[in-house]
Subunit: 160 residues, 2 copies
């Protein structure tokens, strides 16, 4: 829904939320992040602009952004979440399990499969989760030279 260059602050004001300093610090991080971050990572970064910020406010702000569709929550192994800025309207993510960098894609051609499955099982299918995992080009490159590298967004656990 939101265009690529949306002003989040404007959007949440329009939705009836107050514009506060803690909120803005979080928004600034969310609009600027290159790859998905955990709530705690967002806290660390946002405190650079507003030191007294609390984790609770990060969660509360993310909740609003989630509801407004500006942010998506990614699920990683170990019950651990990461938050990504939403670009496409029906987005899925391809996540690097080395560094956590993610690219969003929206063309998931699953209509056929979903329809067939619905016919066979009788389920009324209304949602799906799809996440792809792999190694991003940059990590592939660095893997050839170094044994390990952890950059910014890390915190990824390998799935299955």
């Amino acid at each position: 829904m939101p265009p690529l260059t949306i002003n989040l602050a404007l959007s949440i004001n329009r939705a009836g939320y107050k514009s506060t300093a803690p909120r803005q610090a979080v928004l600034r991080v969310v609009t600027g992040m290159r790859s998905p971050l955990t709530a705690h990572q967002i806290l660390i970064r946002a405190r650079r602009g507003y030191p007294p910020l609390g984790l609770v406010t990060v969660y509360r702000t993310l909740e609003i952004l989630l509801a407004l569709g500006h942010v998506r929550r990614l699920h990683l192994e170990g019950g651990c979440h990461t938050y990504a800025a939403a670009n496409a309207s029906h987005g899925h993510y391809l996540i690097c399990f080395r560094c956590g960098a993610a690219v969003e894609f929206s063309q998931c051609r699953m209509q056929g499969m979903v329809r067939g499955l619905a016919r066979r099982t009788g389920y009324r299918i209304s949602a799906h989760w799809l996440e792809l995992f792999g190694v991003c080009p940059r990590c592939q490159r660095s893997a050839r030279t170094h044994t390990s590298q952890q950059e910014g967004a890390a915190h990824a656990h390998s799935p299955r």
Copy 2:
């Protein structure tokens, strides 16, 4: 890998694990369950056969079964997990968010999409998560008469 009617006890013995009463109580529940259950639900049921059983042993046994491929872990919203007996070798699940009942399916035609995405992004893609959500036939039926019904496996939270 394991055939439909596998004897789990045999399989984990062959893998070098001891055959103990607590373990067997868990195995009996896992082989008998109709839909995915949480670790705690498995505990409750297994205690019917072996009352002193502890939650820790449930987790430890599930870990073994997971490693041997006899069980799969499903992810639900809210960082909550459910364990399902694995039937097909590359299985995904279609989960009812009313009652939690799940059907496994293995034909996920994603090779094309994965290949295209790998080409476009440069990622080396090695795994994916796919879970479908909907309402099972039985819950659809009961929805017409009752307002709500909770059966056995419940505990499902609606995704996105």
